[in-house]
């Protein structure tokens, strides 16, 4: 297990470096610059700006400097929001994204596993077909179509929930973003659970459990779910990545002051330190989550312990 973790860590670090390098390269390769806005700058001013931000140094020195700062988790200050450090911006917007993301994931897990298990237990019944068609619908409808439809119904017709704003966690403003974000995962998890459960329910150890005289509830909850949920656990890693893109949409849609919204804004502003900071932060989070998922998987399924 320890060797496995170390091996994964050895892949993880170059991955982060690759991501940051690609991002940095794209920002630098693109025509234009963060200071070339609407008006042309006089030569002298441009020269001053280049000197101030170290843009006149050879590119490899700039690259190494940027990298060494990022590896020390010092992301610098934003170019557009003056006087704000990137760490400060991340620290302020992360709670919003994390709240929406975690709630959406929990909701998706609870509903997805329940629906998927019921569909598997009543295979080929009306419930099975209905829930699986619904699940396919959930996968196929983009969240930026679903979100506005929910807004149209719950906010603009029924006046129950606010269409867009952020009042912090326990408030009505959380409900619509969380549902919008979780719909696709819910659907996917339901499909995965169903497939996993169906496979497990046919296996020998379930037959053994049944023949021991355990009640159906016990068979399902104590024996089948543990094996049947393995695909769901292994989906957690990709799900986090999807959750990330999902939050970008949901934050745009409901105007939430989260990480995704800041990232899009930073990309549009060509705010290099902020882009690199958020990219580095997101990659690190994602990769450590993936690592955790793999470790958890090893504990749940002794067969693939490395």
């Amino acid at each position: 297990m320890l060797r496995f973790i170390i091996r994964r860590l050895i892949i993880t670090i170059p991955t982060i470096l690759v991501v940051i390098t690609i991002t940095w390269g794209l920002i630098r390769l693109a025509p234009g610059n963060f200071y070339t806005g609407d008006k042309a700058l006089p030569e002298a001013i441009e020269q001053n700006i280049r000197e101030k931000y170290g843009l006149d140094e050879p590119w490899h020195e700039q690259y190494l400097r940027t990298m060494s700062h990022i590896l020390r988790l010092d992301f610098g200050t934003s170019l557009k929001y003056e006087g704000k450090s990137v760490n400060e911006i991340i620290a302020r917007s992360l709670p919003v994204s994390a709240t929406v993301g975690i709630l959406a994931y929990l909701l998706a897990l609870i509903v997805g596993i329940t629906v998927g298990s019921i569909a598997a237990l009543k295979q080929n019944s009306k419930w099975d077909y209905a829930s699986m068609t619904l699940a396919m619908l959930g996968i196929s409808i983009p969240n930026f179509v679903l979100g506005p439809i929910l807004v149209l119904f719950f906010s603009l017709t029924l006046y129950w929930l606010p269409p867009s704003r952020w009042d912090g966690f326990p408030s009505k403003s959380v409900i619509l973003p969380v549902i919008t974000l979780s719909a696709a995962y819910m659907a996917y998890i339901a499909r995965l659970t169903r497939a996993g459960m169906l496979e497990v329910l046919r296996s020998d150890y379930i037959r053994t459990a049944r023949s021991k005289g355990l009640s159906e509830t016990q068979v399902v909850i104590r024996h089948a779910l543990r094996g049947g949920l393995l695909p769901v656990v292994s989906y957690t890693g990709p799900a986090l990545a999807f959750l990330l893109t999902g939050t970008v949409v949901v934050e745009r849609l409901f105007v939430l002051p989260g990480l995704g919204n800041n990232f899009i804004q930073a990309s549009l502003n060509r705010d290099e330190p902020l882009i690199l900071g958020i990219v580095a932060f997101i990659s690190m989070t994602l990769l450590s989550m993936n690592l955790l998922v793999d470790i958890a998987y090893g504990f749940l399924d002794p067969r693939i312990r490395h």
Binding site: L29, Q123, P142, I149, V249, F263, I282
Partner: protein, 362 residues
């Protein structure tokens, strides 16, 4: 010396003997209760049957395999539904704008000159509020016919999906096949790279790419979109093809090709790749909706197609802004896109079940 030979063993040149070597005559035909005649060929003699089947070669097997798959696909009602819907929507997107122009004179970018029509009309409504067939999906803010726009947007969305998928196919299949065939150290280096790229949050990089190189021409942005989406979605394809090639490369036909001096690239692309076609088709069918969804997502963020080009994603995004007053502007393109993705997903699932029953998820 002869590297044109196809990977399948050749058909036996002599016709089948009417009698088995043991001298037993062919069994008489059996008549079933429905009156069908079943012929039992002499090759059913035990022992020899195995040899004959092998002699016949893969030609017969593969033909019946695809026919089998087709039959299984047609039995899957949801997959047939998906197939029909995909065909209908594709046909409508390709021919629709021309038909509408022929029938009504409306084009996707036609802005009416009549002041009364210069507003967003609900579906099936004329400017004076009465029922009309002129705009089955209503019109947008400038009074442009929404049906024509949705159909033309479909052309762009489907094109992005298909071209980016073809790109990911080309990259993924070559990469996976080369890694799988070479094996050993090149394989482990190449697949380690895929592992690294797998954990890259690529959507972020695509956003950075599209935002940094944005704002050239709409056509340039579209090409950038193909490249960006195609170049990040080949990883799974590479893994699938590598797995297939690994299991195929030790079979006799590869050995035979190698023994006759066929060059390595030729073995990979002429002998191995054609044999991986089943899983590749399945995965490609499932990649198209994913890429279309990503394109729509990027268009929603403002990084996708630029006006005057419109896709389902950008039409939906325009619709979101007017949702409180003109909900059909969101619902028409949104539902069309949802329906297409839904059908493509069902078709892909059905194809997987039909082509590879073992991968079937019950």
């Amino acid at each position: 010396m002869n590297d044109e030979r196809p990977p399948t063993p050749r058909q036996p040149e002599k016709p089948e003997p009417a009698f088995t070597p043991l001298g037993t005559p062919p069994a008489p035909p059996i008549r079933t209760r429905q009156g069908d005649i079943i012929h039992i060929g002499p090759e059913l003699a035990v022992g020899e049957a195995d040899v004959r089947a092998a002699e016949r070669g893969e030609f017969v097997t593969s033909a019946s395999l695809s026919r089998d798959a087709w039959r299984r696909l047609l039995k899957n009602r949801l997959a047939v539904f998906g197939l029909i819907m995909v065909a209908t929507i594709t046909l409508a997107s390709v021919t629709g704008p021309f038909l509408i122009k022929e029938l009504t004179g409306l084009t996707p970018d036609y802005i009416p000159t009549d002041i009364a029509a210069l507003k967003s009309l609900p579906p099936f409504t004329a400017p004076d509020g009465s029922f009309s067939w002129l705009h089955p999906m209503g019109t947008d803010n400038q009074g442009r016919d929404l049906l024509a726009r949705v159909l033309q947007g479909g052309q762009i969305s489907l094109m992005v999906g298909i071209i980016a998928t073809i790109m990911s196919l080309i990259i993924g299949v070559s990469y996976g096949a080369v890694a799988g065939y070479l094996g050993g150290r090149p394989d482990s280096v190449m697949m380690r790279l895929v592992d690294v790229l797998y954990s890259v949050p690529y959507i972020i990089i695509v956003i950075v790419l599209l935002s940094m190189f944005r704002g050239q021409t709409p056509r340039g942005q579209l090409i950038l979109l193909f490249v960006a989406l195609g170049s990040v979605s080949w990883l799974t394809m590479a893994r699938i093809v590598r797995g297939q090639v690994l299991s195929l490369k030790n079979q006799e036909f590869v050995l035979a090709a190698r023994a006759t001096g066929v060059s390595t690239p030729r073995i990979i692309f002429r002998h191995l790749v054609p044999n991986t076609i089943g899983p590749v088709i399945v995965y490609a069918t499932l990649t198209i909706p994913t890429i279309m969804l990503t394109e729509a997502f990027l268009s929603f963020l403002g990084f996708g197609v630029q006006p005057p080009i419109a896709s389902w994603g950008s039409l939906t995004t325009d619709g979101i802004q007017n949702i409180a007053i003109f909900p059909w502007q969101l619902l028409c393109p949104g539902v069309t896109m949802g329906l297409t993705l839904f059908s493509l997903n069902f078709l892909g699932d059905g194809l997987r079940d039909a082509l590879d029953p073992q991968m079937r998820k019950f």
